[in-house]
């Protein structure tokens, strides 16, 4: 065989080999680009008998939204004694567009809250965190979803809520955890939260709610181990327009992971009532 002919044959064989190898690699998922066969390497989305996605499980947010839902850099703690443990880490924030659209008066109040946060932050006093803050505290929460109402049990301060999945029911009184009414939009769980009492903050730096704050949450399962969470927040008394937060909840996968108890009232009594203690 001539050299030319051999070269062409070798080249063709190599090309064919590479082609076949390439196909093989792509099929086996070693490819760097997102593969159409991604579900093959992750668990299927859990579903109820009627096909609805099932959110039941133990979930937790990562990141530092509870410190500050807006983008922020690292800061020292107001108490130097806590050293690095009490210092605030940086974060990208969870606010779509990075800015909370406060009215000028509300922006001033948020600033005042920040200046007085060690007296005012309800999280310091073990007050129930309200919605949406309960979801992205540095504590897990358990969702129990069956065929009727859905329970959210938050570890922090034993806060919890029942999401009414039947006919919409107005709250009769304003509460710390609000009144949650849920419904399905396809595979998205939509929860309308109203009748909040306005005493909760969104974070530790003074971003606050009022009793007019209305939150609409949207939960979806892109896969078995993540919840994509979005909340649209509206309050005409302090914002110039509605705004959105979005984040991810991660399924707690440790074998022994379970909801524990963080009844923090006992940890804050000295803080709250200390000066009323009888002096020895």
């Amino acid at each position: 065989m001539s050299f030319l002919r051999r070269s062409v044959m070798t080249l063709s064989a190599t090309a064919v080999f590479l082609l076949i190898a390439g196909l093989f690699i792509a099929e086996s998922g070693f490819s760097q680009t997102p593969s159409r066969t991604a579900t093959r390497t992750t668990a299927p989305i859990p579903r109820m008998p009627d096909g609805k996605p099932n959110f039941t499980g133990l979930w937790q947010a990562l990141g530092t939204a509870d410190w500050d839902i807006k983008p922020h850099y690292a800061h020292a703690s107001p108490f130097f004694q806590l050293g690095a443990e009490g210092a605030e880490p940086a974060g990208e924030g969870i606010v779509d567009g990075d800015v909370i659209p406060y009215t000028p008066e509300a922006a001033a109040k948020a600033k005042e809250n920040l200046a007085n946060r060690m007296k005012l932050d309800p999280e310091l006093k073990c007050y129930m965190p309200g919605i949406p803050r309960a979801n992205y505290l540095p504590f897990p929460f358990q969702i129990v979803q069956g065929n009727k109402d859905i329970a959210f049990a938050y570890e922090y301060a034993t806060s919890n809520r029942a999401v009414n999945m039947a006919k919409f029911r107005e709250g009769q009184v304003d509460t710390w955890m609000g009144t949650s009414n849920g419904h399905w939009e396809g595979a998205t769980l939509v929860i309308d939260v109203s009748s909040l009492n306005g005493s909760s903050w969104y974070d530790r730096v003074g971003d606050f709610q009022t009793e007019n704050t209305h939150v609409i949450e949207r939960f979806t399962l892109p896969d078995a181990d993540h919840i994509n969470y979005e909340a649209t927040i509206d309050d005409k008394t302090i914002y110039t327009r509605p705004w959105k937060i979005s984040t991810v909840f991660y399924r707690r996968k440790e074998k022994k992971a379970q909801l524990n108890e963080f009844k923090c009232v006992e940890f804050v009594e000295e803080l709250i009532y200390g000066d009323l203690r009888k002096k020895k």
């Binding site: 007050y127 109402d149 006992e266």
Partner: protein, 346 residues
């Protein structure tokens, strides 16, 4: 418009129904709807017995924990006693509806009487303790008798050196497992929500959420302890059996609102929930604390579903002005007494 009602005629088979003007009214005492003949326990779509809904222990509000000695081993009221109790409930209801104050109304340091919740029908039991046969909690062990019991609600002049002198309920911390379901004068809501592999009970006071896994996993390490313990559930036929261990010791007791002698770390509770009709559930709990009581004992009472009944938030700690005022009042009294003593010694 006043609500009107039919006169009650007690019959051996049960109580006659009364009409209530509004589903949401604190209605006149009335019987539960009769269970349909051949009632069968429904199942959830994933095959567990369906015990979901908001239940209440209201019916046995006021029933004593310990049986009065004269009842001996008798656990239930006779028809005669039941009808007397029903009459009393109706009188109470009439009194509640009285829109003006009696001339000789006693004014006390407590809240308005007409704000409480009431049983809707007579509690059939002579006591909440159903075993041992005499219906009384067993003797305490010597080591338990000396455990301090913190101040409850009734004392006009409690020791109030600090919050620690008050009960875990008054501090808005917890009422413990039995204390969170035993019938008291308000806040008896128990909302049960099920999912594949879980039963959750949302208990109104003090906003507890018992998350009970059904997958047979072992209890947590004994190093992990809590007020509400670590629960594990399974089904025995249509009965939900829940075993709870890993309690903190020396906190709540077994009684109403978690009162009574604090139980120990060795406490184990086994509860059984059995739905017997669309509106009624049998609840019983076996209390076993070998470091507190001389023997295990059992408490039982019915839970019911009532039209329009729902849980409401009971935030407690967030609004606990009472704690401030109790402590501040005690300090003010001490200051006044000290000033008086100083003046007298001059």
């Amino acid at each position: 418009m006043r609500s009107f009602r039919l006169t009650v005629m007690l019959m051996p088979a049960g109580l006659a129904l009364l009409t209530a003007a509004s589903a949401l009214a604190q209605s006149a005492p009335h019987a539960l709807p009769t269970a349909p003949k051949n009632w069968v326990q429904a199942k959830t779509p994933w095959g567990d017995p369906d015990i979901q809904g908001t239940w209440t222990s209201d019916d046995c509000i006021g029933a004593p924990m310990n049986r009065p000695a004269n009842f001996g081993d008798r656990g239930y009221l006779t028809e005669q006693e039941l009808s007397e109790r029903m009459k009393r409930l109706e009188q109470q209801h009439e009194g509640d509806l009285k829109d003006t104050v009696d001339a000789n109304q006693r004014v006390g340091t407590g809240p308005p009487g007409n704000w409480g919740e009431r049983a809707r029908r007579p509690c059939k039991q002579t006591s909440l303790v159903v075993d041992p046969p005499n219906g009384r909690t067993p003797e305490l062990l010597p080591e338990a008798k000396t455990r301090p019991v913190p101040e409850g609600a009734g004392n006009n002049n409690p020791k109030a050196d600090s919050w620690e002198d008050f009960s875990w309920y008054i501090r808005c911390i917890s009422r413990g497992v039995t204390g969170s379901i035993l019938p008291v004068i308000y806040g008896n809501g128990q909302q049960i929500i099920q999912a594949p592999g879980y039963v959750t009970i949302l208990q109104e006071m003090v906003h507890e959420a018992r998350v009970i896994p059904l997958d047979g996993r072992p209890h947590e390490s004994s190093e992990v302890r809590s007020y509400m313990g670590d629960a594990r559930g399974h089904w025995e036929g249509n009965t939900l059996v829940v075993e709870t261990t890993n309690f903190l010791g020396g906190r709540t007791g077994i009684g109403l609102n978690g009162g009574g002698t604090p139980t120990s770390e060795a406490l184990k509770l086994v509860e059984r929930f059995t739905r017997t009709s669309p509106d009624e559930m049998k609840y019983e709990v076996t209390v076993d604390d070998p470091k507190t009581y001389t023997r295990p004992f059992k408490i039982a009472f019915p839970l019911t579903q009532e039209t329009g009944y729902q849980n409401f938030e009971y935030a407690c700690h967030e609004g606990n002005y009472a704690m401030f005022d109790s402590l501040s009042g005690a300090r003010a009294k001490e200051k006044a007494a000290a000033a008086k003593a100083a003046a007298q010694s001059k």
